[in-house]
């Protein structure tokens, strides 16, 4: 590539590194403090250095009890991710043409980002409370035994919780799709159509491969936003906590660095996963080119 770089490159690269340092600042204190000695607390000073808290975390049964919530959050984030990608792509396709209500839908999507999350959460909780009452009334009238004896609430991570998360991830997905389709050259699709491809074939073999890399972005956004969501989840998960909720509740009592060990471990894990994925992709790429 270009052999000489302008001086501005080095200045900006330096600034970028500073920015990264800034982003990683809190991570650094988490990393350092997760190696607190067995007597140490959540704040400096360090009371010795040890891997005590990692051992506690690994052994389980400590103050940070998160297994179920972690699995639940992971499953929820996966579902949110898939739905976000699917629904966003569809809506993105829709917005390439004119249709009635397009402006309204766009404004609703943007409003969904803007409305304070706690309000959305409360609204959904109110709505589902009414729904619960309705279901019970119907169950009583129709004599459905299952509803009468077993029904507790329609609230749950994969009903109201899923909906709440989608109101947060979909606007991002939609905006990314705008960006993608705005740069998309329709000539390729026209060529495919001229060659007799059906709309589905055109989508499957022309459009989709071209937008696929960006869909990874949408997927990552969807997963990350759901995984870390707290405010919108607060009222709508029913009896079951997601991981951030569990952590938020637990951190009110946890006073030892096991929680930092957890932070270090999860971040370390994701970085590792990322490295593996990258290595695999770069190993596969030359082959695909040859094939």
């Amino acid at each position: 590539m270009s052999a000489r770089r302008p001086r501005s490159f080095y200045v900006l690269a330096f600034l970028f590194v500073l920015f990264l340092l800034f982003l990683y600042g809190p991570m650094i204190s988490i990393l350092v403090l997760s190696f607190q000695g067995p007597e140490g607390g959540l704040v400096f000073p360090m009371v010795g250095v040890s891997t005590h808290w990692f051992e506690r975390l690994w052994a389980g049964g400590g103050q940070v009890e998160i297994g179920a919530a972690l699995r639940r959050s992971f499953a929820l984030a996966l579902v949110v991710m898939v739905l976000t990608v699917t629904i966003s792509v569809l809506a993105g396709l829709a917005f390439r043409r004119r249709f009635r209500g397009a402006t309204v839908l766009l404004y609703v999507a943007i409003a969904s980002l803007i409305v304070p999350s706690i309000v959305v959460s409360l609204g959904i909780a109110l709505e589902f409370r009414l729904l619960d009452d309705a279901i019970k009334a119907v169950g009583a009238v129709a004599g459905i035994e299952w509803v009468q004896t077993g029904f507790v609430s329609a609230l749950g991570p994969f009903t109201s919780g899923l909906g709440a998360h989608l109101t947060w991830t979909l606007p991002f997905g939609l905006l990314i799709m705008f960006a993608v389709f705005n740069r998309f050259d329709p000539a390729y699709e026209e060529a495919a159509r001229d060659l007799g491809a059906t709309p589905w074939q055109t989508f499957r073999h022309v459009t989709l491969p071209m937008i696929a890399p960006f869909l990874i972005g949408v997927a990552v956004f969807g997963f990350t936003l759901s995984w870390d969501e707290l405010a919108r989840s607060s009222q709508v998960m029913g009896a079951q906590n997601t991981l951030p909720m569990q952590l938020a509740a637990k951190t009110t009592t946890v006073t030892d660095p096991e929680i930092y060990a957890l932070g270090t471990a999860t971040t370390g894990g994701s970085v590792l996963l990322l490295l593996v994925a990258f290595t695999l992709i770069s190993l596969m790429q030359p082959r695909r080119k040859r094939g």
Binding site: I30, F44, A94, L106, V108, I114, E127, Y260
Partner: protein, 315 residues
């Protein structure tokens, strides 16, 4: 993807039929509605209806333990309690909005400055997509640690005996620890900038990538220096990205209560915090009224920004 299959598969037999052109157009006309339907449905059920419920409830009455259907403007009156009587002294609501707006403005400036610089670097100085992706991932990784854990970790970083103060004292830059690093306006701005700069980087980066490189070369050839090119060519072309990033940042900061609360030592007011406190005391209608006002305020701002940019075209 199954939905896509259905939608388009539904169109296909029509297309293959003899009346290809005419019915094809009919299918085409229907397609966007089917494609937009899932998103519209999600927003209808999980956003519009709950929001409508909120607006309705904002006119209800409440006791300490219940909310009762009614139609009263009392809650709205309560939000602006004392706002006329206390003039010229500002009432709580105005003070709170003013404080939140102040943070909006400052954080907007900081995120824009940092965000533009970073986006510029990534767009013009990093040449391969792979490296760009790696850089973005590097920026994202810190956000994978739960926000709850990250929030706690600011104290050992910025506190009186925190990492930063210890380092500065150790290096002899200061004699006594800086108190203002934590539980202050500075801390709030720092944390908000930390959280939301990336929201600015992405759309600006996107705009910068769309700039035709030949335009920049043309400017250079015409004798424009670096700063001139930046000011007269790049900045105007990056405007859509800047505006979109600004919408993100301004709206998120307006609704924030977690960051302002924690970093301000719970001593700094924000609109979100007021809503949260009212919900804590089960004053749902009052909280709802506050939320409606906040929503209106933010929508006006966003509407004005959207007048300046067509978000659909310019992304």
């Amino acid at each position: 993807m199954t939905d896509a299959t259905d939608t388009n598969a539904g169109v296909r037999p029509v297309r293959a039929s003899a009346g290809r052109r005419g019915s094809g157009r009919a299918g085409t006309a229907l397609a966007p509605y089917l494609q937009a339907a899932p998103m519209a449905l999600v927003f209808l059920v999980f956003f519009v209806l709950p929001l409508a419920a909120t607006i309705v409830v904002s006119f209800w009455q409440y006791t300490q333990y219940s909310i009762e259907p009614a139609f009263t403007a009392q809650n709205y009156g309560d939000v602006f309690y004392g706002c006329l009587a206390d003039l010229p002294r500002l009432c709580t609501t105005f003070l709170t909005y003013l404080s939140t707006l102040k943070f909006c403005l400052i954080v907007w400036v900081t995120t824009l400055t940092i965000g533009f610089t970073v986006a510029y670097f990534l767009a013009f100085h990093v040449h391969t997509l792979k490296i760009q992706v790696i850089c973005f991932l590097l920026c994202t990784i810190p956000f994978w640690t739960s926000i709850v854990i990250r929030m706690i970790s600011w104290i050992p970083l910025l506190g009186r005996n925190g990492l930063v103060n210890q380092t500065l004292v150790g290096m002899g830059v200061i004699d006594t620890p800086l108190e203002e690093l934590l539980y202050s306006d500075f801390a709030v701005i720092l944390a908000l900038t930390h959280l939301y700069t990336l929201f600015m980087v992405v759309p600006i980066f996107n705009s910068l990538m769309r700039i035709d490189r030949s335009l920049i070369e043309a400017a250079r050839d015409a004798g424009a220096g670096g700063p001139q090119t930046l000011l007269h060519v790049i900045l105007p072309l990056a405007r859509p990205g800047i505006l979109i990033g600004s919408i993100f940042v301004v709206t998120v900061v307006m609704g924030d209560f977690l960051t302002i609360g924690i970093m301000g030592g719970q001593q700094i007011a924000s609109v979100g915090k007021v809503i949260q406190t009212q919900m804590q005391f089960l004053q749902f209608p009052l909280a709802a009224a506050n939320a409606v006002i906040l929503l209106a305020a933010v929508l006006v701002g966003v509407w004005a920004l959207l007048k300046l940019v067509d978000i659909r075209k310019e992304l």
